[in-house]
Amino acid sequence: MADIVTLADAVRELVHDGDTVALEGFTHLIPNAAGHELIRQGLNDLTLVRMTPDVVYDQLIGMGAARKLVFSWGGNPGVGSLHRFRDAVEHDWPAPLALEEHSHAGMAAAYAAGAADLPFGLLRGYEGTDLVAHTRVGTVTCPFTGEELTAVPALRPDVGIIHAQQADRKGNVQLWGITGVQKETVLASSRSIVSVEEIVDELEPRPGAVVLPAWVIDAVAEVPGGARPSYAHGYYERDNEFYAAWDSISRDRDTFASWMREHVLGAVAA
């Protein structure tokens, strides 16, 4: 059953050095505040999982929190490369970063398999690409038709972290708009943290919303603005100017480090 706690307490209690942690969000509702809390608490040796690692993963990698990244597209959408991610892969700075690289379809299937407690996700994919030689995939034969299909190992993170618009006082969570792979992330993970824009007396039903009952979540924290510079549908828009600015902030190691000191390490925990 979800406890309603501060984000700092949730991270302290539920995330440990060496954990496999997935902070998911597909452009929308990216749990940036939670990522910053991982950095402030000095967590390290993490295996980070995300389909679309963007700025907050660039920050975690640049601060040396990760030893491995499981991902399918690592960039700054509409802007270009992630320079801290590149520096880690190309120059081992600040530390070597192991990669397990998939396609979007493969990772989506792997999360869904994790949520269903199956050992692998099933798809037609990867075939004829060089990814096969560099990642964890296999083939299985359909017992009914004989068709050969691709198997990707299920994703089972130790901790799944997402951001949502609302929770009620019991800790039931509702998110809407582009909901990505967040439901699967929470259900596939052993433990889960949800930061929300606001806690309300009662969740009002929304078309197309994802509702996660309190009993599948460990901790809910109220963090208004917790997705910024990403957006929260119905609350605030994506800060496209910041994403563009990140390109120059992150390009240089020292500029990056001083930006992090000023805006993340020095900031008060939510």
């Binding site: 597909f26 869904a112 994919g125 582009i178």
Partner: protein
């Protein structure tokens, strides 16, 4: 009216889409072309973005595949696992628009690394949706600027397969596969066949009758510029 090579590329790519297409759209050049088609000759073309938005009708160009306006204007918003399983893999999307850093003579694409995979010279963002887009849609349209570094005999990494690539639209011209090998079939106004040869890192096959692309119309250029003016701060 004067126009840039990038504008010609966007217009030439947009012309390939029709009202009957359901099109999986990547961000960047493909998104410009697909939105231009919807604003001009193909208003009923269905745009699908991998964030889960089906039938998105953005009023301005989105910066990312998950901008809020895509969800607000979509016919349906589905989860990402549903998008890739029920819609893409099941064959409900007929055109996929892809970009890349490198392309080879068979239309195979690289958006993963330049150099060695384990110790790359340039680590690129990676394949994202491309590996399965390239094998699930009927027709793959590719857009990229033509240079000898991008058009290479051998890819550094094969991110997606080229067997369903039907057209490659560049800033210089148009290539289509002939017996599996990309062949120059059109040049944009003011571009010579030798210019395209010089911008290609392999011995380029050239069709017997190379067309000259019709220049952008006033209507196409106006629609393109109004789209782009909103995204650029």
């Amino acid at each position: 009216m004067t126009f840039t090579a990038d504008e010609m590329m966007a217009v030439a790519a947009a012309r390939r889409l029709t009202n009957d297409n359901v099109c999986f759209v990547g961000i960047g050049l493909p998104s410009v072309a697909a939105n231009l088609a919807r604003r001009t000759h193909a208003p009923r073309c269905v745009l699908v973005y991998e964030s889960g938005t089906i039938g998105a009708k953005p009023g301005k160009l989105p910066l990312s595949i998950g901008d809020g306006e895509l969800a607000e204007t979509a016919d349906a918003v589905v989860s990402v696992p549903e998008m890739f399983a029920y819609w893409l893999q099941a064959g409900r999307i007929d055109v996929g628009f892809l970009g890349a850093a490198q392309i080879d003579p068979n239309g195979n694409l690289n958006s993963t690394v330049i150099g060695d995979y384990a110790r790359p010279k340039v680590r690129l963002p990676g394949g994202g949706g491309a590996p399965e887009i390239a094998t699930s849609v009927a027709d793959v349209f590719v857009m990229l600027r033509q240079t000898p570094r991008a058009f290479v005999e051998r890819l550094d990494f094969k991110t997606s397969r080229g067997d369903r690539v039907r057209v490659v639209v560049t800033d210089l011209g148009i290539l289509e596969p002939r017996d599996g090998e990309l062949t120059l079939v059109g040049v944009h106004p003011g571009v010579a066949v030798d210019d395209v040869r010089a911008a290609t890192g392999w011995k380029l096959a050239v069709a017997d009758d190379v067309d000259v692309t019709a220049p952008p119309t006033g209507v196409e250029l106006a629609a393109l510029r109004s789209l782009e003016s909103i995204v650029r701060e």
